[in-house]
Point group: C2
Chain length 287, copies 2
């Protein structure tokens, strides 16, 4: 039963799940980032968000804002007190911020997003104001055009509750304390070009990794859909359908510069493994 008292079948393990072919041999679960780390990483890579505030009548009000993520997890905002969201925050400090992964023309609900809910406070203390101002100028190139206007006020949103959705079927909550203590992942935060490179130039290596380490010896193609310090996410094509899998790196990476070495090592291990190509093999023989 969920909070509304309604029986709560998980639609993620319903119709959709049945259409995803399972792995053909057992694979050790590859460790993932925590939800708080996923959220911090997504937020650290963004500078625009939807802000939800309360009108004087208590109605929810969604508006576009720019923001900067501060090291302690709070978010710096600079809002005009002439704008509705600025007036709203001045009279009720409750707010939440939706940060969405840019997706282009893809399936909009396949991408990651996070809602950060908390309380906003005016950054009136000169040191806090200076820190928020500097962070915002660093995160938003055009902010210099308005941050010093007399009607713009600096705010910091202290995060108290986090809801992260990684796409279909991947979602979790985190407390404000977990979120504020987490750090953005050093690999995932800047993985875009590495993912493009892997998919353009190393499709063969990804395929062997999928076949021998990822549980899908019948994979016919593989592309990287995500990278972080703990592993690599793959999306595979098989004659049984499309499937996601994840393979852990040999060691957790401390920084992005270790990414190349880790993928080379992963490929070496995959090539040394029981590579199986061609038609759907007998699963029993492999596992």
């Amino acid at each position: 039963m969920n909070e509304a008292g309604v029986p709560a079948p998980d639609h993620g393990v319903g119709d959709r799940e049945r259409s995803v072919p399972p792995p053909l041999y057992e694979v050790a679960g590859a460790p993932r980032l925590s939800p708080a780390e996923e959220a911090r990483t997504l937020v650290a890579g963004a500078n625009t968000a939807a802000l939800a505030t309360l009108t004087s009548g208590g109605d929810p009000w969604a508006s576009l804002v720019t923001f900067a993520a501060l090291d302690d997890g709070s978010l710096a905002l600079c809002l005009s007190r002439l704008a509705e969201h600025g007036r709203n925050l001045a009279s009720d400090s409750r707010a939440s911020l939706l940060v969405t992964q840019p997706l282009g023309d893809g399936d909009p609900l396949a991408g990651a997003r996070v809602t950060l809910a908390g309380l906003a406070e005016r950054a009136e203390d000169p040191l806090k104001r200076a820190a928020a101002r500097e962070a915002l100028l660093g995160a938003v190139e055009s902010a210099s055009a308005y941050v010093d206007f007399s009607d713009f006020m600096f705010w910091t949103l202290r995060v108290q509750r986090v809801r992260w959705v990684g796409g279909y079927g991947r979602m979790a909550s985190a407390s404000g304390a977990e979120y504020n203590a987490a750090m953005p992942d050093p690999v995932a935060i800047d993985a875009k070009s590495a993912i493009v490179h892997l998919n353009q130039d190393h499709g063969d290596a990804l395929l062997v990794i999928a076949q021998t380490l990822g549980g899908y010896p019948d994979a016919t193609a593989a592309r990287c859909s995500g990278l972080d310090r703990r592993g690599i996410d793959l999306v595979l094509e098989t004659q049984r359908g499309r499937a996601p899998t994840r393979v852990a790196f040999p060691h957790e990476l401390a920084e992005r510069s270790q990414l190349r070495g880790a993928t080379v090592e992963l490929t070496r291990r995959a090539c040394a493994g029981p590579t199986v190509r061609g038609p759907v093999p007998d699963a029993g023989r492999i596992s």
Copy 2:
């Protein structure tokens, strides 16, 4: 004084305005779309939004949704009752939807966005549900993956209040009645490729239009930044700085197919006018 009782200097007519060079001869104000039409057009071209709802404690909650715009101005949503926004709406029908123009890497606050505030109601009536379902399947390709899951509910948001921001310095409010009665602009809704074409292949024509009809005889380059049935928005370079201007079409267009003829006619009129190029001319001589 604004609603918060604070003196309200309009920052749009402050520091920023002074840096924009004025036209050098008087130009008739080119008619624009109404704020309600701008909002309807923006919404008609989108299928994702940020939804603001109220938690059980009355806190504002921002989340990502897909939606479809219905002809009567209301918005069709399909939300899981397992998700926080679905539970929120079920217990308090107040909501607002933020629709943002996709901008890529540009200045995030230079783009258009609109907040639609109103009340959501369950589309339980079979006809209403069927209409919402069909609209959503038409607007969101991937919606077929979840609209028929048992935990997904259809909602329609009836718009009661609209706040449209067209970018820096362009903003207006509209009532729900104005919004619901307006129609998306037939030219602006699908103008992207026409704008790209004009800028790639007809920069010379845009420049002459800017010089002789747009008030900037000293323009050295011009690009189209927007098109609608009433006119063309231009951004010009001059030795005095960058400036926006707008030129009306000879006649209001009824449909997109008339766009080519209208821009040809505008170019013809511009070329027949008192073309002035080169260094900044004597404004008195031209006006």
